[in-house]
C-alpha cells in the first residue's frame, strides 16, 4: 500500500478532545496542595492580623506565645526587611512599623497543631497607634489625604509604571490623543456618567494554601496552590535576597484561581516561618473568612466618563477618569490601572481621547489580579454609558455598536494599529441569539422584560517581555512527555497543550502526557498562568518544542536513509518517507538512536525537543500621552446579550436567556472554549447581581458564604447560547488567542443595560441586587 494511502494522524486541532485531567478529578485521586501528606513533622502556621485599617505598630510582645508548649516558631516583620511585589515592590511579608489594612499580617506562629498555633495568636500582644485612614480613592488622591506609603518614592518599580511620591497615587496612566476639547464642539450628543464599582472577591472554592520547608543549607521548597510557581520563586528569592536556584516551587492542581493565586499573595508567610523551623515543613491554610479579605480582592473603581458622538452616531470624543481603589498595596494593581488606561475607550474607534487612570492607595484590602484585570470594572461603566449616548442620539444600541466597534486597521487610543478582529460578527450573533429586534411580552403582569447588550475587549496585561518555554521528551515507546510551566487551573490548558504537541509532532493524542504537578526544579520557565495567555504564548512554545523534536527526528532518519528531510513525515507515531515508502516507528529512534548498516556504529541518541516564545514587539508608551507603536500583543474581543425579567414586587432579576460570542482566533478545543464562555458569564452575572465586599471603616462585614452570596444552580440563565467566532491571530498557534478572562467582562454592563431597558432605572454600580433595583424604582415612582 502506498504511504500516501495511509491515513494522516487524526489532527485534533479544532476538535473537542477529551480532557486529560478529569478522570482523577472524578475519582478523588487528584491531589491539591492541602491533600499532600507531610507526616508528623508538619507544623501548622497561623497569622496574627491587624484589626485596624491604618495604624503604627508601637510594640509587639511575642514572649507569651513563644512559651506556649507546641509553639516552634514566632516571627514578626522585624525578621524580614525585604519587599514583595510583582510590579511595584511596596509591601513586606509581615507589617513593619505600620499596618495598612484590616487583616494585614503582623506576626506568624508555627506550632505542632493548628489549634495551638491559633491559641498562640491570642498571646501575642500588639500595641497600635491609630492613624487616620483613607477609604475613598478620590479623597485618597487629593492633597488632604493622609499618606499611606510615605516612602513611595523609594520603591522599586518598572519603567512603565509612574508613581507620584508624596501622594497616595501609585500609578498615573495617561492618554492624550487628538483634542477632546475641540471635539466636544463637533458632537451632536454628549453624555456624562459616574459609576462606583465595589470590591469583590474571586471566591475560588479551594482557599489559599501553601507549605514551605527550608533546609539548613538554605534550600527552600514551597508547595502551593499556585498559578505562578516561577513568579513566586522569583519574588520570594528577591524578598529574601537569595538566588532563584535556592527556591523550588511545586504546584499541584489548583482548585480555582481567577487571578487570586497569581503573584505572591500569602505564599511568603509559610516560607518565613519555615526559615526558622529547623527543617520542619510549615503549612498555612487560609480559612474561608481570611480568603475573602486578607489576600487579593478585585479593586474598587470610581469612574467618570464623558462621551460624545456626531449626528450620525459616530463616536468623536471620550474623556475617562478612573480612580482605582487599589487598597493597602498596589504591587499588582498598578498594572491593572495601566491596562484600564490603555483599554479605556473600550472596543471602539474613538479619534479623540483623554484618559487619566489613577491607582490610589487606600486602607482597604489589597486589589490584585482578578479575572479581567480591570476590564469588567471599566466596561461595566463604559458600556452603560454607551447605551446612555445611544438614547441621547436616538440610535439603536446594536446599530450604534456595529457602527463604532473597533476593526482591523483602526488606530487605537495608544496609537497602535488594530489587527483583524471578528467583533462585528460577535455583535450580530448575540443580537440574533436573543432576538434583539423582537419586542417581547413579560411572562406575568407583575414582571417587566428587557434586553441589554455589551461589548468588550482585553489584551493580555503583562510586562513587555513575558516568556514561555516548553520541552518535549520522549519515552522509549515513542510516547512523549511535555514539560511546561503553565498551570492547569481548570481552564484545560494541559489538554490543549497535548492537542498541540500531538498535532505538531504527528503522534496520536493519547501518546501525550503533560507533566504535572508543575515543579520549578523540572518544569521549564513560564512567566505566569494569567492574562489568558497560555493557549497563545505557551502554545507557541509547545509547538516550537514539538517542531524541534520533529525536526531532530526527521534530520536523523533522513541521514540514516540518505534522503531529504522534506520527503519525510511523522504519521501516527511512525516516520514515513513519501519517496522511498520506508517506515520506522518512533520507538526505534527516539531514545536508542538508529544503528548503522550491519550495526557498524550508531546515529543519534535521546531526543529532547525544546521551544520558547516571547513577544518581541511590544513597545513602551509615552508617560504623558500614552502613545506608542505597540501597546499590547493583541486584543480578544467579544459581546454578550441578556434577556431578563424583573419582578416588580421585589426587584429580583431573572435571566431568561444569555448569549455570548467571542473571537478566539481559532478554537483549539471548542468545548473548552464554550466552557469558558459559560463559566465566565455566570461569574460575571454573579458579580453583577450578588457580590460586594461590604466594607465599613475598612472592615469587611460579610466575610462568609452566608452573606457573600454567589450564583448557585438556581440562579443561572434559563437558556444560554455560546458562539465561537474565529478571526485568526497572526502569531497564535493555528491562529488562536486566549479567552479565559473575557467571558466575565461584559456581563455586568449587559445586565445593567437590560435593567434599564426593562424598567428605566440605572444604578450607579453593581451589585444590581433586588433591593437596590426595587428601591430605585420606588424612588423613581415606577412602583409604589
Amino acid at each position: 500500500m502506498a504511504v500516501t494511502d495511509k491515513k494522516k494522524t487524526p489532527d485534533l486541532i479544532g476538535e473537542s478532545a477529551p480532557r486529560v485531567d478529569v478522570l482523577e478529578k472524578v475519582t478523588g485521586e487528584a491531589l491539591y496542595t492541602d491533600d499532600l501528606q507531610f507526616g508528623n513533622a508538619l507544623l501548622h502556621g497561623r497569622i496574627k492580623r491587624s484589626p485596624h485599617p491604618h495604624a503604627l505598630i508601637k510594640k509587639i510582645d511575642t514572649s507569651k506565645a513563644e512559651a506556649l508548649p507546641g509553639v516552634k516558631v514566632v516571627v514578626t516583620g522585624q525578621d524580614f526587611p525585604g519587599m514583595v511585589g510583582l510590579y511595584l515592590k511596596d509591601r513586606h511579608i509581615f507589617a513593619r512599623e505600620r499596618v495598612r489594612f484590616v487583616g494585614e499580617p503582623v506576626a506568624g506562629v508555627a506550632a505542632t497543631t493548628e489549634e495551638i498555633a491559633e491559641k498562640a495568636l491570642d498571646l501575642i500582644e500588639v500595641e497600635y497607634e491609630l492613624l487616620e485612614p483613607v477609604f475613598d480613592p478620590e479623597f485618597g488622591a487629593s492633597p488632604e489625604a493622609p499618606l499611606i506609603h510615605p516612602d513611595l518614592g523609594d520603591y522599586q518599580v518598572p519603567n512603565f509604571i509612574f508613581p507620584k511620591p508624596g501622594t497616595n497615587i501609585a500609578n498615573h496612566f495617561k492618554i492624550r490623543k487628538g483634542d477632546v476639547e475641540a471635539a466636544w464642539e463637533q458632537c451632536a450628543a454628549v453624555v456624562e456618567s459616574k459609576f462606583h464599582i465595589p470590591q469583590i472577591q474571586h471566591v475560588p472554592i479551594e482557599p489559599h494554601v501553601a507549605v514551605a520547608q527550608a533546609d539548613s543549607d538554605g534550600q527552600i521548597t514551597l508547595w502551593a496552590s499556585s498559578q505562578s510557581p516561577f513568579a513566586q520563586r522569583n519574588i520570594i528569592a528577591d524578598v529574601l535576597g537569595i538566588s532563584q536556584s535556592k527556591i523550588r516551587v511545586i504546584a499541584p492542581y489548583v482548585g480555582g484561581g481567577f487571578g487570586c493565586k497569581a503573584g505572591v499573595t500569602m505564599e511568603a508567610l509559610p516560607v518565613a516561618l519555615a526559615l526558622k523551623a529547623k527543617g520542619r515543613p510549615v503549612k498555612v491554610l487560609l480559612t474561608r473568612e481570611e480568603e475573602f479579605y486578607t489576600n487579593f480582592v478585585r479593586q474598587g473603581l470610581v469612574i467618570k466618563l464623558k462621551i460624545g458622538c456626531d449626528k450620525d452616531g459616530n463616536l468623536l470624543a471620550m474623556e475617562n477618569t478612573m480612580y482605582w481603589d487599589g487598597g493597602a498595596s498596589t504591587e499588582y494593581g498598578v498594572n491593572i490601572t495601566r491596562a484600564g488606561g490603555y483599554s479605556s475607550t473600550g472596543p471602539y474607534d474613538v479619534p479623540n481621547v483623554k484618559t487619566d487612570s489613577l491607582c490610589i492607595y487606600t486602607n482597604h484590602p489589597i486589589g490584585g489580579a482578578y479575572r479581567g484585570f480591570g476590564m469588567p470594572e471599566l466596561h461595566t461603566a463604559l458600556e452603560q454609558t454607551m447605551d446612555m449616548l445611544c438614547d441621547e442620539i436616538g440610535m439603536d444600541k446594536v446599530e450604534f455598536r456595529k457602527l463604532n466597534c473597533v476593526r482591523g486597521g483602526d488606530i487605537l487610543a495608544t496609537g497602535m494599529k488594530m489587527h483583524p478582529v471578528g467583533l462585528s460578527e460577535c455583535i450580530e450573533k448575540v443580537a440574533e441569539a436573543i432576538e434583539w429586534d423582537k419586542e417581547e411580552k413579560p411572562s406575568a403582569p407583575n414582571k417587566k422584560r428587557g434586553k441589554g447588550i455589551a461589548l468588550m475587549w482585553k489584551a493580555p496585561a503583562m510586562p513587555p517581555n513575558p516568556g514561555s518555554s516548553a520541552l518535549v521528551e520522549f519515552n522509549e515507546d515513542g510516547t512523549i512527555m511535555v514539560g511546561v510551566g503553565g498551570q492547569e487551573i481548570g481552564q484545560g490548558t494541559f489538554t490543549v497543550m497535548a492537542q498541540m504537541a500531538a498535532a505538531t509532532l504527528g503522534i496520536p493524542y493519547e501518546w501525550v502526557k503533560v507533566k504535572g504537578p508543575l515543579d520549578t526544579q523540572y518544569s521549564p520557565y513560564e512567566w505566569q498562568t494569567v492574562a489568558s495567555r497560555l493557549t497563545w504564548s505557551m502554545g507557541n512554545a509547545v509547538v516550537a518544542a514539538a517542531a524541534d523534536a520533529r525536526k531532530q527526528v526527521l534530520d536523523l532518519v533522513s541521514d540514516a536513509w540518505d534522503e531529504d528531510p522534506d520527503d519525510l513525515d511523522i504519521v501516527n507515531g511512525v516516520v514515513v518517507s513519501y519517496k522511498s515508502e520506508q517506515e520506522m516507528p518512533l520507538k526505534d529512534i527516539v531514545i536508542y538512536g538508529i544503528p548503522n548498516e550491519n550495526f557498524e556504529g550508531w546515529k543519534g541518541g535521546p531526543i529532547i525537543g525544546r521551544g520558547n516564545f516571547m513577544p518581541t514587539y511590544v513597545t513602551g508608551l509615552d508617560s504623558e500621552t500614552g502613545q506608542g507603536e505597540r501597546a499590547v500583543v493583541h486584543f480578544t474581543t467579544g459581546a454578550q446579550a441578556f434577556d431578563i425579567e424583573i419582578d416588580m414586587d421585589t426587584g429580583k432579576i431573572e435571566v431568561l436567556k444569555a448569549a455570548a460570542a467571542f473571537d478566539v482566533g481559532k478554537a483549539i478545543n471548542p468545548e473548552l472554549v464554550l466552557s469558558q464562555l459559560e463559566g465566565g458569564l455566570v461569574q460575571g452575572m454573579s458579580s453583577a447581581i450578588f457580590e460586594k465586599i461590604d466594607l465599613k471603616e475598612g472592615v469587611m462585614q460579610n466575610p462568609s458564604f452566608v452573606d457573600y452570596r454567589i450564583a448557585t444552580t438556581a440562579d443561572i440563565p434559563l437558556e444560554f447560547e455560546g458562539i465561537i467566532v474565529e478571526e485568526p491571530q497572526d502569531d497564535g498557534p493555528w491562529g488562536a488567542r486566549g479567552v479565559g478572562e473575557h467571558p466575565m467582562v461584559p456581563s455586568a454592563a449587559a445586565i445593567g443595560n437590560a435593567i434599564y431597558n426593562a424598567v428605566g432605572v440605572r444604578l450607579e454600580g453593581p451589585p444590581f441586587s433586588a433591593e437596590r433595583i426595587y428601591l430605585a424604582m420606588l424612588d423613581a415612582g415606577i412602583v409604589e
Partner: protein
C-alpha cells in the same frame, strides 16, 4: 479534652479511630484516615465541597462531629466507583465537560449520586434544587446539570 474511640464503615471498610470531641467528620476523613477526595471549602456548611454520604444521605461533613459517626456508614467520592467501574454520575460529568478545576467535583458527585438514588428521573428543577448547596465557580453549572440528566438516562 477526651478522645472517643469510634467505629465506622468507610467506603465499605470497617475503621476504628480515636478522635477528639471537637473534630468534624471532615477532619477525621482528611487527617486521621488520609482520605482526601473530600474537600474543605468553608468549614461552615455553605459550599458543599465536603459533601459525603452519612448513612446514605448527603451531609456537609464539616457540620458533623466525628464522634457522632460511631456506628455509621460513610461514603466519600472514593467509594462511588464499583471495583474500578465509574458510577454513572462520574462518567457523565466527565463526558458533559462538567469538571474544570475539579475542587467542587467530589461534593457534586455525592449530591448528584444521592439525588438519583432517591429520585431516578429528576426534572431540571429538582436537579438544581438538589445541587443548590454545591457551589461551583468554574463551570457556571450548565454542564453539571446536563451531566446529572445524562446519568439519570444511563441508570434508567
Amino acid at each position: 479534652m477526651a478522645l472517643h474511640r469510634i467505629s465506622l464503615t468507610l467506603n465499605g471498610e470497617l475503621e476504628q479511630v480515636d478522635v477528639p470531641s471537637n473534630w468534624t467528620l471532615l477532619q477525621m476523613l482528611r487527617q486521621t484516615l488520609a482520605v482526601t477526595g473530600t474537600k474543605n471549602g468553608c468549614s461552615s456548611g455553605e459550599c458543599g465541597a465536603c459533601t459525603v454520604l452519612l448513612n446514605g444521605e448527603p451531609v456537609n461533613s464539616c457540620m458533623v462531629l466525628a464522634v457522632e459517626c460511631d456506628g455509621a456508614e460513610v461514603v466519600t467520592v472514593e467509594g462511588l466507583a464499583d471495583d474500578g467501574r465509574l458510577a454513572p454520575v462520574q462518567q457523565a460529568i466527565m463526558e458533559a465537560g462538567g469538571v474544570q478545576c475539579g475542587f467542587c467535583t467530589p461534593g457534586v458527585l455525592i449530591s448528584a449520586h444521592a439525588l438519583l438514588e432517591r429520585n431516578p428521573s429528576p426534572t431540571e428543577g429538582e436537579i438544581k434544587d438538589a445541587l443548590v448547596g454545591n457551589l461551583c465557580r468554574c463551570t457556571g453549572y450548565f454542564r453539571i446539570i446536563e451531566a446529572v440528566k445524562a446519568a439519570a438516562a444511563i441508570k434508567v
